[in-house]
Structure formats: C-alpha cells, structure tokens
Symmetry: C2
Subunit: 191 residues, 2 copies
C-alpha cells in the first residue's frame, strides 16, 4: 500500500519507511506543503496539517508532528523543536539545563492519518533524560543529547537506525499506524 | 471606524487601541480564534491568520504578529516569542545570552489588514539590545529585558505606555495602519 506523507523532512521519511516496510506500507512525499499551526498540542498541529493536506490532495495521507519536551523547562522546546534546533541547537538546550537536577525529558510523536471518512491519530512516546553533553553521530535534531530510558542511557545518536526505531517515539507511533493499516478490516475500508 | 482585531492577547488590544485612538479607529476583539501557522516569517503568519479570519467573519479586520529577534541567537525566539516566554521566560533568554558580546536585538511587528478586495500589511521595527538583567515593571513579555535604542537604553518595561508606543514595533506598525486608514481615498474604499 502506498500513502502520501506530508513532510519536508527527508530524515522523517526515511525513518517512517524503515518502520512501515514490514507492514507492506510505503510512504511517498506529498506534493503539497505541510501547513503547521502554532499550538502547544502536537495532536492539534498534526490534525490541522492532515485535514489541510487532505483537502488539497483528496487521497489518503499521513502527517507526523513530534517534539522534545523537557520537564524542568515547562515542556520547552516542545512543538517548536525544529525551530529551536535551527536557532540555538543542542548547545542552547544544554546551557538552559546547566545546574538542573531534574533532567527528565520525553520525545513525543503524533501520526495523523487522513483518509476522508477515516481520520485517526497514533501517539508514540520515548522517555529519557538530557545528557550533560552531545554523544554519538547518528540520527538528527536533538538525538545527540537525548538519553533513552530504553537504551540504558545511550543517546539516540549512539544507536543504529533500527535500534532507535525499536524504542523511539516515531517508531512507536508509526508501528501503531502500520498495525492499524494491516488489520484486515481496515484494509478493506481503505482500499 | 470600528474593526475586528483577531487576537487572544488583551495587552496587544490595549496597546493597539491606545495608538489608533487619534486616528478615530477602535479595534474590538474578533469573535473567531486566530489561526497562527508555524513560519520563520511574521508576514506569512499574519497574512495566513488574516485571510483565515476574513474567510470566517467576512468583514474588515486586522491581525498582528510580533516577535523578538536576537542576532547572536540566529533570530531566536522570533515568531515563537510567546511560547518561549511562557516556557523559559526572560530568565532563559538571559542564560542563553551569558558571556555574549553581541547583544543586539530587535522587536518586529507585522499588522495585516484584510478587507476583502483590500489586503495590506504594515511593518514596525524597534531596535535595541538585551539587558544584563530584567528592569522595570511595565509592559509584558520580554519588555523587561529589551533596552530600546530610542529610549537611551531604558527597557520597554521602564517606560509608560505612551512613551513605549511612540517608539515600539507595535506602535510603528499600528500608526502606519492608522495613517493608511485615515487617508481619505482609503476611507472611501473601506466604508
């Protein structure tokens, strides 16, 4: 099954396709820009983007929105992680975290499927904490400073893509989508 | 003349009405939510919001978008100033600025007027720098740490509302709107 994926981020497309392969689903870049609204809620952002993209494309598609939520920074950078990464980067986050005891953080991903009558969202969360310094060279964005609870403190950048996908927020959300899509009843609805 | 102002921020409404009073223009809160997209460009954000609000209200309105752009932080917090203020606040910005020689910053405001066939934007910029610590109790948001070039280094929080409006980004943009609205040709078009 092929589906459009409204994203401008090639890393996300590659990660999602790696996960969805075993479900027989391939995502291809949507030929329309992703409209992202400002909101504290990833669900709202993903839903708005999916509905807007569906209105223009009129065929089944998914969008994804994710962010890093740091507890002692009141959830910052949250839904604006991409902009924050682009401007102040990992260095800025580490500076904001200097001297903080509570370094707990989570990555959250919301995948929203829009298929006309069928609209559905899938959430994935990865728990962990902010490292004292960047470690590793894999992944992208804030991966070098996010130590995953499920990887015994290794950062997302210190893992290979399949190890990361097994525990990552994006992995969890896209697997939930894959399972839902490959459910026979759903397949029937969607075809 | 009365116009709708699509904003959820009562401070902005009060500031704008203070400025527009002398032009005989009163803004009233729009009965529809402001849809803000994510973009590095305030113009794009304001334009999208104005067009969306106009589609729903079908009568003349303005929206405003503004942000603090810090040169040595690559423009951060920019269009996301409100979220950044809510999460890491002035304290977070000051921490990011520790030890930086270049403290130059500017506040920028874009006012977008949507009147159906007439769509127009007005830009105001206030130049200054980031203070070493918060000063003053007036204004809102990042005002306590923004030292205005036009106020001999006083922060926006150390001024009274009319002194701030005379030099602020919002003051400049709304005055440009006011002048345009009170131009007799425009008035004729708009009535």
């Amino acid at each position: 099954m092929e589906l459009y994926f409204a994203t401008g981020n090639p890393h996300k497309l590659a990660e999602a396709n790696l996960i969805l392969k075993k479900f027989g689903v391939t995502l291809k870049p949507a030929p329309s820009p992703k409209i992202e609204i400002q909101s504290d809620s990833l669900e709202e952002i993903a839903q708005y983007a999916a509905r807007a993209a569906y209105s223009s494309l009129r065929c089944p598609l998914v969008v994804e929105d994710s962010g890093l939520f740091i507890e002692s920074l009141n959830g910052f950078p949250g839904p604006y992680s991409s902009y924050v990464y682009k401007t102040i980067g990992c260095g800025g986050i580490l500076r904001l975290m200097e001297g903080r005891c509570n370094r707990e953080a989570s990555f959250k991903c919301v995948v929203f499927y829009a298929g006309g009558e069928v609209m559905c969202s899938f959430v994935g969360i990865a728990k962990g904490s902010i490292a004292e310094e960047p470690r590793g060279s894999g992944g992208f964005g804030f991966d070098p400073i996010f130590m995953s609870e499920d990887l015994n403190g290794k950062t997302f950048s210190e893992t290979d893509p399949s190890e990361k996908s097994a525990v990552s927020h994006r992995g969890r959300a896209f697997r939930a989508l894959g399972e839902w899509l490959s459910d026979s009843g759903r397949e029937h609805t969607l075809k």
